[in-house]
Symmetry: C2
Subunit: 416 residues, 2 copies
């Protein structure tokens, strides 16, 4: 597929121009994109209509059609997201550290763009706009390869972004939507190590595995989130109930929802029957360990060994009574996915030990796992949540699409 190679080469050329753009210019083009998406909303909706008709013909579920469909309200929300990204502080040029060496050299580390980022995603056409905006904000060029079911919508959004780039005198190849729905296009894309600096796959596990197994370009994965809450012996039970319900129920289909609840045995008799009843009343299926079953007879089904590492993404919760902090941490290490874990406690020392010893990407004390999100943590929109440790771990914002170079001010120093 020479087409993808050609696009990647053009992206590489555009990248060095985008990297050199002054900060206000990168901001103004984002505002222009936001305006143009709203102004040309009908064009997007018309293209999206074709995708929706095609999707229904192909038997997409109602949930998938809902994720795909755009209307003027959703387009306004996309534009408003881009304006927020525009308003974030510029990561490019940020000095993260600076120090002086004994020989007088002044050494600093400065953030610079990565170069060309490839985003491979499924369904939601808003990712086309969000990802393009985050890449431009951080001075990168981007190749976007969305799902085939949203192809017309993605191409329409891409056209409007390219038009906005041209209006601002920026090469339109800085943002390119790959128009080939075939999975071969992904394979070709991830071979191009000379032209792409990073691939971010967003979507189901099948897609991510395919990318990881075939890519010669570095990949930042985000696999599943098997998130835990540990209710400690000293927890405020009202706070614990409130947080647990928020973490499980507020949006069960996302990666930062709670999947397993661990409860200190000393508080289990007081806490669990009430908590489980509340979950049952909201329609959550509770799968419990033996102790949970005996504390909440009739309200729980038995949990099996397969439940502990499972990401349900649904109104299902596994519950285990543990002997204390150590067993909780060891359960999380054994069955967790290093995504997000929270402890509910009034004990200072246990809070600190949990924060230090649990090495998941986000570790919370007395707060809902649902805060594990770039927007919620103040990074602006997020490009994804990394579950691997290299380069970025946890929610990634625009500044995670940069690297740092050393800058050194000398006065003639040479090495002895």
């Amino acid at each position: 597929m020479d087409e993808i190679l050609t696009m990647a080469k053009k992206a590489r050329e555009a990248a060095s121009l985008v990297a050199a753009l002054p900060s206000p210019k990168r901001k103004s083009v984002l505002l222009k994109i936001a305006d143009n998406l709203v102004r040309r909303g009908e064009e997007i909706i018309a293209s999206n209509g074709k995708d929706v008709v095609e999707g229904k013909k192909n038997g997409l579920s109602n949930a998938m059609i809902d994720r795909l469909a755009l209307d003027s309200e959703r387009i306004a929300a996309i534009a408003s997201g881009i304006r927020e990204i525009a308003d974030q502080p510029d990561p490019v040029g940020e000095i993260t550290k600076m120090w002086t060496r004994p020989n007088g050299l002044l050494v600093g580390k400065m953030r610079i763009p990565l170069g060309v980022v490839g985003i491979i995603y499924e369904s939601r056409p808003n990712v086309t706009a969000d990802a393009a905006a985050l890449c431009l904000k951080s001075g990168n060029a981007v190749l976007l390869r969305g799902g085939s079911e949203a192809l017309e919508s993605n191409l329409a959004i891409g056209r409007i972004i390219q038009g906005s780039l041209s209006e601002e005198g920026i090469p339109k190849e800085a943002v390119q939507v790959i128009p080939i729905p075939d999975r071969k296009a992904i394979f070709e894309m991830v071979q191009l190590e000379d032209y792409l600096d990073l691939i971010i796959p967003r979507g189901g596990e099948g897609l991510i595995r395919f990318v990881v197994e075939n890519s010669r370009v570095p990949v930042i994965k985000h696999y599943e989130g098997v998130c835990h809450i540990f209710v400690d012996e000293t927890a405020d039970t009202d706070m614990a109930e409130n947080i647990c319900i928020n973490a499980k129920v507020q949006r069960p289909g996302v990666c930062n929802a709670m999947e397993t609840l661990l409860v200190h045995e000393a508080i289990s008799r007081e806490f669990l029957p009430v908590m489980v009843k509340k979950f049952r009343d909201i329609g959550v299926e509770v799968r419990g360990c033996e102790k949970t079953q005996s504390l909440c007879p009739g309200d729980v089904v038995p949990a099996s060994e397969e439940d502990w590492p499972t990401e349900y993404l649904d109104l299902i919760l596994s519950v285990k009574v543990v002997s204390g902090l150590d067993e909780a941490i060891s359960h999380i290490e054994t069955y967790g996915s290093a995504h997000t874990e929270s402890i509910i406690t009034r004990d200072y020392s246990n809070a600190q030990r949990f924060l230090k010893r649990v090495n998941s990407s986000v570790v919370l004390v007395n707060a809902s796992t649902r805060f594990s999100d770039g927007q919620q943590l103040g990074l602006g929109a997020e490009i994804g949540i990394s579950t691997t440790k290299l380069h970025a771990f946890g929610p990634m914002g625009a500044s995670d699409l940069t690297t740092t170079k050393f800058i050194i001010f000398g006065e003639g120093q040479v090495r002895a």
Copy 2:
């Protein structure tokens, strides 16, 4: 090769214990290793002797034998390097940022170890000790796979390190030397994505390409350094000569030595004849562009197109006269390897423009490229110099063997 899988699994188990070691413990084990390497120096020298005999039998060059050979002085130097690493600030637990969200959540980023690091290297047995020390310092376990020509030396050093770990009550599997000289061992090692978090290959381009092409584990490469110095119109010519000679001659066989000298045409007539003569006097072969040839008749051989992207690692230098800063930057972008570049100038604005616009891993003003080195920049010993942008770019110290997790202090917050 079940042996490597078994070693990797043990490393993974050891890693979580090493990650939880308190800082003073990680320091004291390093000091113990340094002491034991010196105390058991004869044992290392005896094993090293076998490698040297074998190497001579196999026709290794004198230079390679020299890189391989250890004596008590070199062992003392290795020990002293490890003591320096022990004395560095602990990267683990460092809070790199902290901020408060409008809802009162206190959000921070804390450095944590990566987990298990694999180092694949050639020849020099000191890497065994240095790499182990840097990994332990940063709370990681490490699998070391050195060159076959240094196998006995590496195993001896590995035994002494493991003995020191045991003396301190740390699982000895935190540092393991793979005893299989076969390249298949490397292939097996880089498949183990579930047990290794990072692979760092150190050695020739053939080794690095082999690792990159076969690895399922993330790799931080360090390819070649085609380093440039640009002598600007306003350069102090004494300073320029001094820096250029240091950058080319002080140690020509390393990646941060200058390979190409770019000279502003306005200063070329004054600067180049003297500079080239000095290089010739020290025995440097100068390959010049046409203008350089005409300015230094008889002293330069013609440079061909192949010279510009070449890393000589030898007393050879390519020289080009350029019209100014823009041409210098564009030459560096076209032919450079994004490793290290320096500008020599008295002009404030050109210094700033060079620093901002050149996106190599190390960019200097008025200093020798030879400072592109972890030790020289104050990172302590270095684990390598990354030429790819992801995770680390440029010289890497112990803190580049960590990642960051989000830590969040709440008071019952839930997501709206």
